[in-house]
Assembly symmetry: D3
Homo-oligomer: 309 residues x 6
């Protein structure tokens, strides 16, 4: 009891005590006997992704009025800041994974290697994003310039977050990657797991409600509309009834496939090159290259309301 | 006219005057003859929910570096601040409902009783959330720790908002509750009406596009995927053609049911315990316990585009 | 090389150099030989829309405690600020479109004319929004007051953004309009192209996942639920294989139509007055006035899992 | 003890306990048996004074780009906001003075009367400030425009704070007034007690270190340089040895007097009209009109360092 | 009257009207018939000076953790930002001086020339500041490192502001320069007119209350303590009784002079090289090189209080 | 050269290069061959002192509306945060002093010991401040409550900063202490070196321009007015001509002494108990207990300007 005899309005003392018990119980249930280490910060990562965007597209996502003599200074300064902060977040992930309160020399080396590896991929990420922007410009009759696409399209924001998250996922920072993916999910309604592999010239139109699973593989020049799911059909369990983690369970979509709004494609199936999947289709089996998949029959009947016969 | 003869660029004077007329007309149409009272503030409630999360999970959603000797101080301080501010917002709701410009003694007592009742439910809310987090961890092969689930999963954010909003709804603050629900809706794309009753171990995966109606009842250990609707089939009208408000019109989902992406379940029907509802299913009738509901036939046909035979 | 011989941790110099090459290459590919002009700012436009809301609904979206003697001052001051800043953003769009680094006299006149035209439409926009709010209040059994509808409902936020964006689109600021639309899309999951024409008393319930295309025409007293698409069926290409831009390709929805959740309506078809389109319906042909369109047959089969016969 | 057995790093528990004892002891010593009421806020008052400056000089201290059609809206809006907030601060002072936790009806009337009285003086304050600015412009060879004087001169900032504080002091809000005076003191090094009476066309040059006491009376067109003190000579005590508060104890400075840097003038003496007081003079007796007071003899001797003779 | 018949609490309408009359009267009195142009912004200039400090001393006043590979990027980026913003402020000064609402081509060229000239002086300013810091370190027994001097000493902050302000003053931006000087005055209590010429290795200890006038000339390795005034003795007036502006009226202080606290030195006199001026001395005549000037006699008498003789 | 051939507006490249040379030269001159470590942060320390004030006086300088049940939680939480951050700043000072880039185990222990020692002194500091506030209340006829004194008086702010700084100085963190002292100096114009020893019931009235040196010793119940200097008379140099640092060189002021405005007291002299030192006095020799020291003769002569005889 903090203050013996002080008047209690909300009963803070009792609440604090009850919540403490629950907290300790929860730690005990999970056999967390040591103080749990800090996790990477969503707020910091949001800033990091914004600054990476600024470094990659300084005139559009950074400081648009920069004169020529200043752009490289801006890019270099921004990169140094953002890589240093990213390195801190990666270190936190490694500490968290290893349940360490502070970073050992070895762990710092791992973290630096991941950040360094990420830095090296930035030019490739910029190239891929250029191809994605081009694809959106060419694929949408409403788009009037590539700059508009870069600045306005939620699908472009989502793929930018994904290409960053995927690089981090592959380099060994899956938690940081996941947080980056959820930042995009919250802003755009597009949920791409950082594990998903996606080729160049990828175009997500409208995008709200799209879900792309961890082991999905998407080829080049693929176009996907809103509310499409590339999901798992069922989850495998092991002999103990626990989920098997990490096995390939999401679709493979080959090059130049188009998937219209609301299609649901489940399981480790392959959509062959150049196929078109119609809106609202439910698909759980392989599709040959060049197929057009649509719904099997007219799904609606209309009648004049209140009409007799 | 404010300034006779001053140069007008945008015609502010005329605009102000036109908007004033519309404002007064609108008040008159709604027979609001007195100055309308202030409503609860979305910005304040956003802060309140964040701080409640911090008090409930101080190491993860509050200040992660807190040493043991400081956690209870932090929790106690945060609770006092957040309950005081919540009480203010509840008072605003009661004033608004009663069209009062200031809070009477009686109204302040009502507000305090609601806030006090809410405070008492916080330990129960924390327990429920612990069960929800556990369910998400166990139900998603991509989840690697319960902490990741708490920090990253939009479904967990949505259910945290809902459990807070539902307690407030039941205690008599439905407007505050609704605003809390819409904060989650905006951040996650998950729209759960605060009136919905939801049991423990609830897991919403991906979540974008989920809609759960006011009178829905959901049992324990239920799992729901993205774009699922638990809605009303039709709205009842009274003899005057006005909507009947508040009657039971949304589904009952019993324990251990799984509902896959895109399923639409409408009306006061019951999904029996342990059933599985397949993706994109459209369901408007009761389902026996242990049922598997899927779509009736293959919905797609594929052909080789342009291919002859 | 900036600093010869300085230690390189992340290899900033090499990165800066690689990104510069990509940037120059990208400009060259797009034949942008001059420094690209600044675009309108999403952050500024977000502020502008908030302030327009405050000027239109000063008691609810502005400063709710304003006494009578102060409201007009507040409205007038807010309008002047917001129109001035909007004019700046429109000027940026015109500069961007004409690839100009600074605004000529003529371009400034065009921008002022657009802003002036927009200002004159504000009273009409307020009237339309009053009708939309009324429609939501009457159409939702869970709504308990028109103020709650204005403050809480994402559909109302989306239509407010749309009515502003549509006015700007028509006056010749389509890029500014598009950014306004995407602000709403991100906050609500509702994606309405600023070109869409929408009549009064429009009600979007829940709204997540709704997509309404550029050339859609929607009548009066229409009600639309979540995840509805009013899209294009296919894109026309010209003789060079390039998309034809701007032709009418989205549905016409006549007065008093209701479209339930998940319906997908594609192409330049007409949904006749007073029709009802059921949930998840896929519709690509005209519908007579007064029709009820639902799915053709029961789409589900249920069985007792693991049950014998 | 909050957490029995939790590790103590800084000994927070013991510190909290020790500080609580001192706090309670201090309240007991001062016979404060009830919870002490909140005081006016320095932060709020700083904002209030800035906004008053903006309302008085909208083009220079407010929003300089305002077009003619917008100025009055800005001024009216700013005034309403600032008077409402000032009224809150005055209410806090009255509650504090009367040791009340909340404001009675009567106290609110008093507060409104003070704020109303203050509002009525604003035009007079603007006129006085115009005269002060004119005096500074005419009195300083380095001043090149009256606008420069308004924006740059710390003496003008100090007199603006003083004229506001003095009005509040006279109307019955001496604590609010004092806080306003200290805000200026901190920013400029000029310490004018809000009780001091100061005529028009007052010019304080440089100003650092100036001290003007509570009962000082300064006429019209007076000029004072840095580090001048208009102080009390000694403090009267009553029969109990306690200081007598409020009696006239500071100098009277008649019209058109000039006082140079570092002069110290103490006690209820009168400096006659048109006199000049030299730098560093120490003065404790009356001075006839038209006098020139300087130091009595050369105060320095110089010699060549290390010089023989 | 804005709203006929609306209830008036503070009488905003009447106040707005009264203040408008005063504003128009004041403009008329000063024969300002056109809308007065915007002045340079104190807030912006405060930011500019901070950023210049950061560019000059990146490790101490900028971002202290910068690795070697990043410093030049940071400096270059900061310089570009700060020079661009400074150029804007200089443009505002030139517009203000010429009473222009917008910047002509010619005026923009003038502004660029001033900013360019300032940029070229930055290395010299850094060298001078290095000498000032060294002088402070050597001259104060309490200083333990040059870094401490740079970060802590108000005299160093004041001279940094002065060297920046003086460069701008000489280049033709006296108003911007004056605002920079007043920023330092407010923060440190040290008031140096930007016109003053000050040699290298200048050390101001404590500094509060120091005043140095517009035409003062100070040599190399001079040391000045708190509350010293280098002022004008009297102001010359022309035949019309108006002050003559700009003539030499402040002291010349030669190299290696020390002036102790509180000394007042007035008029265009010369303090010869290597002289020492004692504390509180009042000096209005030339002093030969190598002089020691102190007060002429013991200025105090002490007695035992209440003691008889 | 960063960008060969890019247009140079301000000549950033050349400036960056020139500043780099100067920076390297300066490091070389000071024989700083390694990258200089980060110093404690003034911004952080400003926050720390504010939070210490809040923990010491939670109702006045913290959160004034705290109910009884919440105060200790607030104090405990605030203390933990502030001591942790203070520990970080002390660590930075120790790293800086030892020219280390990171903190060794041993250095962290030293830092913790300093912070721990400081924490233990907090109750004593609160007691001393209570006595100082009481002294101000009793000593100023214009003070109407102790709360007003605590919130308004710059002298109280200065002594609060000093008591904190002095504790840190004595415990071995002189640089952190110095920065705390300069924060007060900038806000109040009162410059007290953290080394100065000051007894209880200390009252500084007005305070602007007060300077108290490092080795000054001030007894109990001492009162000091504005612009008083307790300084060194001269600085001792060693055989190499370098200043001797740290020797006793400032005055000793015994209990119950009063020193009026502008007095300058220099050297290691003793002002005996109960003495009064008059305004503007210049004092460099010991004063017996109970003395009254005033100026030796009338220092002014007055005459009627332009008057005959």
């Amino acid at each position: 009891m903090i203050i013996n005899g002080s008047t209690q309005i909300w009963g803070i003392n009792a609440l604090v005590s009850a919540l403490r018990s629950l907290r300790l119980q929860s730690l005990q249930d999970r056999q967390c006997l040591v103080h749990p280490p800090k996790m990477p910060s969503r707020g910091q990562l949001q800033q990091i992704v914004e600054n990476l965007g600024a470094a990659l597209f300084p005139n559009r996502l950074g400081l648009p009025d920069l004169p020529d003599e200043a752009i490289d200074y801006y890019v270099g300064h921004t990169l140094e800041q953002v890589l240093r902060e990213l390195n801190r977040q990666v270190t936190l992930e490694l500490q968290f994974k290893n349940r360490l309160q502070s970073a050992s020399q070895d762990l710092q080396s791992q973290s630096s290697a991941i950040t360094q590896g990420f830095a090296e991929q930035l030019p490739k990420i910029r190239s891929l994003l250029d191809s994605d922007i081009q694809a959106a410009y060419e694929g949408d009759p409403a788009a009037s310039s590539v700059d508009e696409v870069l600045v306005c399209y939620p699908g472009v924001a989502a793929i930018m977050h994904h290409r960053i998250a995927h690089a981090l996922y592959q380099l060994g920072a899956p938690l940081v990657a996941r947080i980056v993916a959820e930042i995009a999910h919250s802003a755009t309604g597009i949920d791409i797991h950082p594990g998903a592999q996606i080729g160049d010239h990828f175009f997500l139109d409208h995008g709200t409600g799209v879900v792309i699973g961890e082991t999905a593989v998407i080829g080049r020049r693929v176009r996907i509309y809103q509310a499409v799911t590339l999901g798992a059909k069922r989850f495998q369990k092991d002999d103990n009834g626990l989920l098997v983690k990490g096995n390939a369970r999401h679709p493979i979509v080959e090059d130049e496939v188009v998937i219209y709004a609301g299609a649901t494609i489940l399981g480790r199936i392959t959509i062959g090159r150049g196929s078109t999947i119609g809106g609202n289709v439910w698909l759980t089996h392989d599709v040959l290259p060049g197929s057009h998949v649509t719904q099997g029959q007219t799904r609606t009947e209309s009648f004049i309301a209140g009409g007799g016969i």
